[in-house]
Amino acid sequence: MSSISIDETTRDPAFPGVFLRMDSIEKSFPGVKALQGVSFSVARGEVHGLVGENGAGKSTLMKVLAGAYHANGGQMELNGEIITAPTPAAMIERGVAVIYQEFAQADHLSVAENIFMNRLPRNQFGQINWAVAARDAETAMSRLGFNIDPRRTVGSLSVAQRQMVEIARASSRNAQLIVLDEPSAVLGDNELEKLFATIRSLQAEGVAFIYISHRLKEIFELCQRATVLRDGRMVSSRPIEEWTPDTLIQSMVGRPIADYFPKRNAQPGEEVLGVSGFSRGKALRNVSLTLRRGEIVGICGLAGAGRSELLRAIVGRDPVDAGEISLHGRKQDIASPRKAIQLGLGFAPEDRKTEGLFLSQSVKFNVTISKLGRFGSPAKLNLGKERGAVRDYVRQLRVKTPEVDTKIGTLSGGNQQKCVIAKQLNAQCDILLIDEPTRGVDVGARREIYELLVDLVEREGLAVLMVSSELPEIIGMCDRILVMREGEISAELPRGSSEEEIMKHATFH
């Protein structure tokens, strides 16, 4: 466990001083030590990456920084001042702004109102001066390199734009330290570039950033230093030049990652799924593909390219205007998810929590719900048999859960995802369509899921069609890569293609 010393931060003249210093921060909850002796510092004008697996303590640390949690030990120093009574209001006043994944925005109010919430300019009678508000809003936004009509309601903006409004809000309050929690999770690549530009322009003015992300590529691109948390402790905090992706992951996970993606022995068999001519307006334009047994085929592209739409159309969730599907060589009409399940199509949707899981129900319920017929007649379920089968899956897939009766909402992302896959196996699928297989899954569990998928295609003879926004994942896992662009498949690339090549086909020429 290394800790940062003052010399290292003040070494570089570009960083004229430390803005935030967190020293031996401790935070406990009943029965759990969330943070133990965490120390790190952030200098002015620095973008500092904060990485760690889910549950490592990043959110807790940021909540302590924001004044939402009171640390049980250690101290915080802002601009040389030791903070004795941290409250959200006190921290905001001292220039700390946290932008969470779920924005705290008033959807029905305008951009200007959101930027200046509670601080709208007023005239001498106390009335709000809308003209000044609009002008100030425009100034705030252009400083950051973007502009949106300040009178538009926030609810009408895209997620990326809303994020910009949040940053404008922070900046207009003269935030000196802005924390971004997984900002890229909801952005496409174009938008990401814009975000980076905004961050850099603020950085030039001396604003510091803490950038939390699972996407290591961004950390390396944007940050000057990075701190790794693991199990509530700070593992290492170093300048970015002293990290490599491997050593970073290794610190996060605690063991050497020799091969991140499992070795693959692809032996594709006969065609199991054939899609031809799928079309629906602008979302899907004459999409055709084939999938063979024993294959993992990936679908990638920019947000909005039609990847998830394609999967949903295949499983009958959304209709198509034209096109055909054949399974095992026979033409099928898949009119509903029910039919898809009957025909052996398994589907793990993009948003696990809202589409894939019954969060308030048990693991057992979730795994068996799409095919209860295996456990007796519809009017007489054999609960013992069901329990046994689910236990088997839990064991087989190494799902970490105390019992099969545990509420699935309490499981970690990785374990939840394993349950989603177990659900498809229980439904006896032989073709698995999976949308973002490792979204919201921490690094250690990702490897397990990759191994699971490879195991399913190599040993159980399944076929996997996978949509992912993470190019390393697509490149590392798939036998063939289908790149989508604006509703079409713009290219089919072989295994081992480079990210540049993929992006080339994903964007406009």
């Binding site: 909850f29 549950g55 998810p337 589907f347 019954f358 308030s360 859960t401």
Partner: protein, 327 residues
Amino acid sequence: MAAPDRMTETAGRKFFIGLPRGAGLVWVLIGLCILATFLSPSFLNPVNVTNVLRQVALFGIVSVGMTFVILTKGIDLSVGSILGVCSVTTALLLVAGWTMPAVVAAVLVIGVLMGAVNGLGITLGGIPPFIMTLGMMVMGRGLALTLANGQPVSIGGRAAEFMWLGRGAALGLPVPVWIFAIVAGVAIYVLRYTTYGRQIYAVGSNAEAAHLSGINVGLVTFSVYMISGFLASLTALIFVSRLTVGEPTAGTGIELEAIAITVIGGTSLFGGEGGILGTIIGAGILAILANIMNLLGISPFTQQIVKGAIIIGAALYEMLGKRRSRH
């Protein structure tokens, strides 16, 4: 892992499945019984016990239907009015000379049909359950009053064998109690051991995920309203038998009682959580409470205040439980 893992919630322990709050409710019930015994010597009087059981049954049957509906994240405000329409129809048909089996069959069908109208409005029409059943509640009451011409319909001394339904007894327990026992038993079985029962929980827990899991969400939703209507009409038959009149105002307010019973019993208004065992206990709690207060001579107005406080208390308890488990 730094995440708190002692806070895992069990979605249903072995014996008390359907009581998400664990055995807490049962203790409340037992506690109430003990309290009642101390407060009034008449409480354990066999006649009084029978009365209480009868009250549990009368409200319990409708509450079972309400539980099914609430489990799917819906609500049925029209059960009282369905009860009214069916009460009047029962009396009118008996007066017209129909035989008892025919009357029973016809009235049950009417209950199912009215429930089906609710179901259609909600599934095909996309109308929120609150609004649809509210409309049916108002319409139904008007229909009952129209059919009865504003007056209670007396069946006089006709159909003596019909009296057995509401006023008869078997093996020492009133018939309505047996009917409730059967209804509750079937309901518990369905929710626990059938695919349909699982589907109900799935639809209430996450309708989109249920759809993707191959469940016909519309059909499941439609069906629970039919069940609710059916049980309301069954209760109407018992009511008429008990009073020898079909009153168009019968069942006024029973929907709120049924909702209170269901919610106190631990079924969540947000769907997907709860069950019949909780509803039975909820009915027991409210019935004993009313009985104690009657025996103590507490004014019915005060009783209403107490009942309202219990409902709010039960809801608070559930909210606090949820909040605790989130950290």
